[in-house]
């Protein structure tokens, strides 16, 4: 097959992001300038997302066997590029005082974005692995970034090594699963793997089930689903905040899109045992995530455990995709991922805006009385927490509504009961943070977040809060976009 230049046009967002990285690298080579590097990254990601937006209505093509560029992947490309851009804006003041070279951080960030874009466009195991490793490798660097800093507040090296070792092990399991599937079917394309579930000429159904479960476990690790979640709180806590945000938003959602495509395309759920495994993982994740979050005093750890629970919620919609007619469960996953990214950016954004690489304020005590000390930040944070808890007027509620709807349509009563229980427990630790912010302030350090370099970050918070409220009250535009793009998955 001859690939012409025109065939590469659908890859424009990917190419632009790559070009951004190269340009930034060259500029750093010529002259180090922190603001310019960050500016190039922001501009590149912005252009990439705008190009992706302009392509979304017309493009639908398979570019080489490895990448599929359809409306669904473009939707997530936009989402990822915008999120990466917002995280860059947060990173700027956060790293401004780092006593080490700080420009390369933005290279890592944009390379990770390349990996994420490849992942959401992948319907082939090779591109999945390529994307995943590109993303993970850069994340190891981002997590460990302040390692030479004498003033680093947390333990970036410990977090990075922990993430590296465990993540590599998970990749190994994932690859083993893929190899087993390859042994069975002789192909690595998702769409050809359908055969593995329908007829198993080679080594029998047990073999296929083991292969699928190994792939799922590899992915579950990256999504920090219980019981593969042990690394999450430590890595979240040890990493610099922008890296945590990146991991929690883009890292999770890119992986989930792969899982969704994989499960839906290969019809893996036609095995009862796969459904059972996924359901059990969902139940354990929801309960473990929510219960363990109750015991935490560090906001980063609370959000880490709550992300375990949220990934568990998402699995419910994934399981539902087998039972329901139409695309409703895919829509549920998509909407919830969108909502989850919005709320996570906001929640981590508030913490990172008051923190810097020398001093991170992530203890719940630091936020006592924030409502009266800094109403604006407290308002944003409360909005994000209530949204994470799924309270109306916020986009998180609509997301949860979707999940409930998919669950009801599929008749997954046990999972729904667990979802209700989990949300009930979740209320407690989200409200605990809100309550602390409502109390009277007691001494302690005041946050510095007023300078001009924070303007951009405050702008992002305002943007995210507006998105949270507008889509929470009038979700129709997003709902109809997601309704259209979700048809691509089926």
């Amino acid at each position: 097959m001859i690939t012409t230049l025109a065939d590469l046009l659908p890859l424009m967002p990917l190419l632009i992001t790559t070009a951004t990285t190269i340009v930034a690298m060259i500029v750093i080579g010529i002259r180090r300038n922190y603001a310019v590097t960050a500016g190039i990254t922001i501009a590149g990601l912005l252009i990439a997302s705008l190009v992706a937006v302009s392509m979304i209505s017309t493009t639908n093509s398979q570019v080489t066997p490895l990448l599929i560029v359809d409306q669904y992947s473009l939707f997530f490309t936009v989402l990822i590029c915008v999120t990466a851009m917002l995280i860059t804006i947060f990173s700027f003041p956060y790293l401004a005082n780092l006593d080490d070279s700080k420009e390369e951080y933005y290279l890592l960030l944009s390379i990770a974005t390349i990996g994420a874009i490849v992942m959401v466009s992948s319907n082939h195991f090779v591109s999945t692995i390529l994307g995943l490793e590109t993303l993970s490798m850069s994340l190891y660097g981002m997590v460990a970034y302040p390692v030479h800093s004498k003033l680093a507040d947390k333990f970036p090296l410990e977090a990075s090594v922990k993430y590296l070792v465990l993540s590599a092990a998970a990749s190994g399991i994932l690859l083993f699963g893929m190899a087993l599937i390859y042994a069975q079917t002789g192909t690595l394309e998702f769409s050809s793997i359908v055969n593995v579930t329908k007829e198993t000429p080679g080594l029998g159904t047990g073999f296929a089930i083991v292969a699928l479960i190994m792939v799922f476990i590899g992915i579950a690790f990256k999504l920090s689903l219980a019981p593969f979640h042990m690394w999450t709180p430590d890595v979240y806590e040890g990493s610099p905040l922008p890296a945590t945000t990146y991991l929690a938003t883009i890292g999770k959602s890119a992986m989930f899109v792969v899982l969704l495509r994989f499960i839906v395309t290969t019809e893996a759920l036609s095995f009862d045992s796969i459904i059972l495994v996924i359901s059990l993982v969902a139940i354990v994740s929801i309960l473990a995530g929510n219960l363990l979050a109750l015991l935490q005093n560090s906001l980063k750890r609370i959000l880490a455990y709550s992300s375990i629970a949220h990934m568990g919620y998402l699995l419910i919609a994934l399981v539902a995709s087998y039972y329901v007619q139409g695309a409703i469960s895919v829509e549920a996953v998509t909407f919830y991922l969108f909502a989850y990214m919005v709320m996570s950016i906001g929640a981590f954004g508030v913490i990172s805006i008051v923190s810097s690489s020398e001093k991170e304020f992530d203890d719940i005590d630091d936020y006592q009385g924030l409502f009266w000390r800094n109403p604006w930040l407290a308002l944003v944070f409360t909005g994000m927490l209530l949204s994470l808890a799924g309270i109306p007027l916020t986009v998180g509620f609509i997301g949860k509504f979707y999940l409930f709807f998919a669950g009801v349509e599929a008749g997954l009563w046990t999972l729904l009961v667990v979802l209700i229980l989990g949300s009930g427990i979740g209320l407690y630790y989200y409200l605990r943070v809100v309550y602390r912010m409502l109390l009277s302030p007691k001494g302690g350090e005041r946050f510095k977040s007023g300078g001009s370099q924070y303007m951009g970050a405050h702008g992002v918070l305002a943007f995210v809060l507006a998105l949270l409220l507008i889509l929470g009250v009038y979700p129709t535009p997003l709902v109809s976009i997601i309704e259209t793009i979700s048809l691509n998955i089926l």
């Binding site: 309270i391 209700i420 409200l431 009038y474």
Partner: protein
Amino acid sequence: MILVWLISILFVGGIIAWLSERINPAYPRIIALITVVLDLLLMLSVLGSEPNAGGWIASVNAEWVPRFGISFYLALDGLSVLLILLTGFLGVIAIGSAWDEIKERAGFFYFNLLWTLAGVLGVFTALDLFLFFFFWEVMLIPMYFIIAIWGHENKNYAAMKFFIFTQVTGMLMLVSILMLAYFHLVQIGNLSFDYHDLLRIEMGNQIEMWVMLGFFVAFTTKLPSVPFHSWLPDAHSQAPTAGSVILAGILLKTGAYGLIRFAVPLFPEASLSFAPIAMTLAAISILYCAKVAFAQTDIKRLIAYTSVSHMGFVTLGIYAWNEQALQGAVMTMLAHGLSAAALFMLAGGLQHRIHTREMPDMGGFWVKVPRMAVVALFFSVAALGMPGLGNFVGEFLALLGAFQANIPITVISAFGLILASVYSLWVIQMIFHGEYTDKKIDDSHLTDLNGREMFYFGAMMLGLVWMGMYPQSFLNLSQPVLVELLNNTQSIFAAVVQN
């Protein structure tokens, strides 16, 4: 359109009140008062208009989320009118009771107060079940803030308990609502959350019971009824006075309203077979909580338990499901709204003056605060069901109707009236009678009711006397609605009985 105005005025007024605090800390309460009075006037202006063929006085219906068949559908009938008038009236009273009490962060307080009222108005008028659920939850958050910020010594626990109880049971209701919508999809072919559409769905007996229970649990938690009542005493005793007024006067009524409007009409068969259990729970609520009330020393907890007891008559009336019983339930809701709010305000006023809610520390206050004592006596007597006042009409009608449905339970429940006299008079005796001793309390601020307080207590007395002397003016409004609801379910009941 007027319905949108009613709700949005409160939302906007809340924001303005909050912002105005920066200019002058005295502005929020003035703005809040103007907003609610304006809203009340708007409500009164609706009263004159003639209902259309379906019995709806005003309605607005617009697409909201077409993907799920969700519409922004508000409508007002006689029953809703009574309840939104109660909301507006108690809204004014609540602002009055907060006037001097809330000094700190007043802007945010009135913001929360107005948003709670807006949520309640939405609940009373929404006819799209998604929208109903939306408002149902919207009224919780500001109420949580009211308890958590301006509450008393144990406010975190109380606010958290209140929120988790109502939110978790609310999610059960959400599942039930979604099942209804899904059945509509299966049977009629499209998704809809419209009340009128969902009335037409038919379900198997067993599944109908489960779906109905989702609603029942959510509504009886809010009402509250045994066994979901335990959040109420905590919430009430910790809430600031205005919070208690809103909670007891209005928020509890949303549960009863939900039962009348949704739980029974949507699931007539399941409700019919469930009625004996519901009525038993009601009887247990009436007697058990009256007994528990008697054991309290904290005056606010006592009134909270009596609320649960009185709400038992409402449940009893609703599940008897005949005209008299329903009228009784509605009257009880209105009358209890006023009497409980007044009692909580008296308790709050006392706490504000002497910084305790413990009744054993009080005694002989009649000589010190004669006006307050008379007012307290009036509302206690109203609460115990003295003929001539609203509560009597409500509870009498509820029992009369319930007697036709289930004699043993009604007879047992009627003993609640006796217990009510016991605890009501006991409160008066504990606080106002006996020797005046000032050993345990600091009585330097124990002053009698001032003019403002007399004004709003007077208004509430007037309301109760009006309800007691000429209940027909209220019954006339709700009667066509209730008859319509009864007619719709009658044919189904008849079919069930025949089988």
